[in-house]
Symmetry: C2
Subunit: 313 residues, 2 copies
């Protein structure tokens, strides 16, 4: 009988769960709803029930389970305590300790954006690179930094907050974090929509996007269709995002940037817009960094959570 790992990714609406073998193959994959009522007090017991049921159903012995990895949407300290996770309703929550008590197996906990980076390095677009930055272009911009195979969590669990790097001076609107000019104000799905609206407020250029319900997907669809206005908007997006990645590369000299999230569904065309700016701004010695697409989609978290377990010492 083999050995097994659980990888769990806790999101604001559902919890993704995976059962893995030691080689990282998915044996089973399922979801349960995230019950955020009452300060999210049911979330961990729900997850534990689901895991314990799976163990019983598969007739596994507890000693066959190497451990349980958890990805959570908030800062996590080295003891596996989450310091507030707004989307889950949590205040300070001792996730590792609670899960070990409820499941009777070793648990390890990481921030979801960081853990996703580990997943992409292990089984996704980042395979073959041991120093990489995962750049998740969704509603906001998430980041995960891996150096020499290890996650950079930061001293307060705020490592990898690349969406909140300052990249534009003189911005008047504030980011969700309270600062002005953060990368995610321009490079996220929301940011692209903002750039598009600004563009159409200033330019008279005709475009099917004008007066339409603008989304990041609509912009890149219009780019693919040859729309000049969309290309200019994508150009501004690429200029700013490429500059942000260049700043990171000048500090860390990574092997690759792995780009995921909803915006990345536009595909390789993104890099046509990001790369010229990246090369313009980066320190020449760090210019070789590859730009690659993430491949695991929403499963990056469960893969990374399983890898967290394998990396436990």
């Amino acid at each position: 009988m083999g050995k097994y790992i659980f990888g769990v990714d806790v999101g604001g609406t559902s919890v993704k769960m995976g059962l893995f073998d030691m080689a990282g193959m998915v044996i089973d994959k399922w979801e349960i709803p995230t019950r955020t009522e009452n300060g999210g007090e049911l979330i961990l017991p729900d997850i534990a029930d689901s895991i314990n049921q799976k163990i019983t159903k598969e007739q596994y012995l507890k000693e066959d389970i190497i451990g349980l990895g958890m990805a959570v949407p908030g800062p996590v300290n080295a003891a596996g305590v989450v310091n507030k996770a707004v989307n889950l309703g949590w205040g300070v929550t001792p996730v590792k300790e609670t899960m070990e008590r409820l499941c009777g197996i070793p648990a390890v906990v990481g921030n979801d954006a960081n853990v996703a980076a580990l997943g992409e390095m292990w089984k996704g677009g980042g395979q073959g690179y041991d120093s990489l930055i995962l750049v998740t272009l969704g509603t906001g911009i998430g980041g995960g930094v891996i150096v020499d195979g290890r996650l950079v969590t930061g001293v307060n669990g705020a490592g990898g907050e690349i969406g909140h790097m300052h990249v534009v001076d003189g911005e008047e609107e504030a980011c969700n974090c309270g600062c002005k000019g953060c990368l995610e104000q321009y490079g996220s799905a929301t940011g692209i929509v903002r750039l598009a609206k600004r563009y159409f407020g200033k330019s008279d250029r005709p475009s099917p996007l004008r007066n339409a319900d603008i989304t990041a997907k609509a912009v890149f669809d219009a780019v693919a269709g040859g729309d000049e206005a969309a290309k200019e908007i994508a150009g501004e997006f690429g200029e700013i995002l490429g500059k942000g990645l260049a700043m990171i590369a000048s500090v860390l000299n990574p092997a690759a940037f792995v780009v995921g999230g909803g915006v990345s569904k536009a595909g390789e065309v993104l890099f046509d817009y990001i790369r010229p700016s990246f090369e313009k701004y980066v320190f020449p010695g760090a210019k070789d960094a590859k730009l690659v697409l993430a491949t695991l989609g929403n499963d990056a978290g469960i893969y990374g959570a399983a890898k967290l377990v394998l990396d436990m010492e």
Copy 2:
């Protein structure tokens, strides 16, 4: 009889050398000139002679020497090969292999700015922090990044090139690296002089600095003397440098920035100018990073080189 370590810092005009015990106490410290003629071919043999003479004079046994750490001004790969060091006249140079052959003791090699960070963490201003950035404000800006006690060298040895982060849009003069708007164009000693000259070109404010031979030291001396023009120049310096450090903190969430180099001789007053900008631009979760002064001065390299030896596995 104890065990000993050599720590060597190879500079463009002199080689600093230190003999350390295992606790990191300096037993002896000396310098030899750097002979850069003929592509710097004499540099490594000169160092080896000096070390071998020291071993003979002290009547050490080779097995009492744990190893030899070397800090060199250029990018270094994992095999201890330096890929060009302009100040030494070197092209690709196998430093580790050469020194092991010439001295008969294990050698380990690092980039000088990175190694200095290790020294400051071990015995200098960064003691007590295991995730820190050394920011060396000299003629240029050097950097060394340490995460969880380990140096971030980067995949091409270009890790920590924080002086070449892009921080200002619209700059017209080029940096030495070829890019425009790099941190070292504003935050280094040379950068401060540039800012001062620009200031006096635009402002009529009277100041003892006007028409004088401006240096970074003169600017901060004038700040200490209450000169308003100097304070404005220092304000611009602090605004840009604080912004650059904030960008780094948003990505890495370090415990501290350790500020060294000639400009740091101005002392804590630097932080009065850097901190407000840092706090304005940084991701809130990473705001706690300490700003501290480096304390080892020119000895940071030999300390860090000795620490490289202790960190060998």
